[in-house]
Amino acid sequence: MSLSIIEIRDLNFSYNRQPVLLDVNLDIKAGDFMAMIGPNGGGKTTLLKLMLGLLSADRGRIRVLGKPPNDVSHRIGYVPQDVHINKDFPVSVLDVVLMGKLKPGRGWSGHSRKDRIAALQALGKVEMTDFHNRRIGELSGGQIQRVFVARALVTEPELLFLDEPTASIDTKGQREFYTLLKELNQTITIIVVSHDLMVVSGYVKSVACVNQRLHYHGQAELTGEMIEFMYHCTAEEACPVELIAHGLPHRVLHTHRDD
């Protein structure tokens, strides 16, 4: 039995005295490709930030790679949700990716030639090499999202956390994106926060439903029950076309009760 790469016990977090996460327990094994779904405000981004050490829990314990998050956060690649931060910042695409090569105590040394090559390679993986010299503000939302993925990849992470990474990308782009993630999953454990049910069905290995509490499902098939619990609507109300995912094998979600 492989060790858990992420271990969370009885995690509780509140913001301004409002509970955001209640009694969360989670065990993720190395090599997993997990989607985190749930309604807005349900705590998905908060949980990611807790695992990254950006926030501290009120109660409970988190261990990532066997250690507290702050000790190992540099071994996690993080792709944040917000691409519109600091759009006017005087920085080139390459320099943003190079931020992934930072470590404390570098001293006078700037980025080495090796770092630059690694950064260009990471940009190549997301097909953004041609843009390496452009100002970050000149890019579209979807392009900036790809640059952020390159920045996460250049850290040579053991874990990859992505928060709504396809919010600014069209359907074809999404398919290509998740194909890339599937390839990366051969060596990296991945957690994706997503509103996209298509994602869940076609590409990931497991699903966690987060709405203050967390329910982990080892299989990627969504049941009507899960959707009802998470989104407070019945399978009938949500459009059936949206719920049928394309992928091999064809996955079709729970049939409607009145059929």
């Binding site: 931020m99 570098r106 006078w108």
Partner: protein, 279 residues
């Protein structure tokens, strides 16, 4: 004007203007990209309390002002980290309280003291050699610190969360930045006055930001632009016998308006050219 350069006071004024431009170019860039302009204003105004304290208690001038400025700066910085949503209110309060404290303490100190006017507009034409050396030292320290931590400050300014995840000590670096800012502000107020220090910190970087491809280029161009504004302003004040500090500000403001106009007109010109070519 060229004959005036023979005089030491004029040479000192130009040197002071140059050093002030260098310091403001670097620190101003970091202030503008980190969006801490209001905090800088708070430090600048509150530090007048330090001058009052120095006079009232008979402390050495620099000890009083820099010490009090650092105290106010750290307090304001801590508030922006702990209670972000109330931080600008508290900065506003300290801004006023520090200033008022300084004024009252000076009222209560017997004898002739530095007057408020020279604090507001500085006295670039009466800069002593000691101030020049001090500004040189401050400038050298700033260049060393910012060079050493350049990539860390770049990451911290662009995406603080990501920098933290990479293991950068963002809180310590932030406080270091604020400390450098407090010292810079105190030194520059002595030379060009409170009113000018904020303008010099913010106008050149704001103009230059959209044309800069890197933070270091923005710092260099801001310093150059500050220097141009400073020398032009001093020239006008010499020719027309005007207050030097205010002349420099007006030149900077004029430069700001020109840059906005260029921004608006250039897209229109290229659109018209395209239309003409299409015809």
């Amino acid at each position: 004007m060229l004959e005036a350069l023979q005089f030491e006071f004029m040479q000192n004024a130009l040197m002071a203007g140059l050093l002030a431009s260098l310091i403001c170019g670097i620190m101003g860039t970091l202030v503008v990209v980190n969006r801490i302009v209001f905090l800088s204003g708070g430090i600048a105004h509150a530090s007048y309390g330090g001058i009052g304290l120095a006079f009232f208690f008979g402390w050495p001038y620099l000890f009083g002002t820099i010490g009090f400025a650092l105290l106010m700066a750290f307090f304001m910085a801590a508030i922006t980290l702990k209670a972000k949503h109330r931080s600008d209110t508290i900065i506003g309060v300290l801004w006023a309280v520090g200033m008022a404290l300084g004024i009252i303490l000076i009222d209560l100190t017997p004898g002739y003291n530095v007057d408020l006017m020279s604090y507001l507009f500085g006295s670039i034409l009466t800069v002593p050699d000691s101030d020049i050396w001090l500004m040189l030292a401050v400038g050298a320290i700033i260049i060393c610190v910012v060079s050493y931590f350049y990539n860390d400050y770049l990451a911290l300014s662009y995406d603080e969360e990501f920098a933290q995840i990479r293991g950068i000590h963002v809180k310590s670096l932030y406080f270091l930045l604020i400390a450098l800012l407090a010292v810079s502000v105190v030194m520059i107020i002595r030379v060009v006055g409170l009113i000018l220090v904020i303008a010099l910190l913010t106008i050149p970087p704001y103009i230059v930001e959209k044309y800069s491809k890197s933070l270091i280029k923005m710092m260099i161009f801001s310093s150059v632009m500050s220097a141009i504004f400073t020398f032009t302003g001093m020239w006008f004040s010499f020719i027309f016998n005007l207050t030097s500090g205010a002349s420099i500000i007006l030149v900077a403001a004029f430069g700001f308006l020109i840059s906005i106009a260029i921004e608006r007109i250039i897209p229109k010109i290229s659109k018209r050219t395209v239309k003409m070519v299409e015809k």
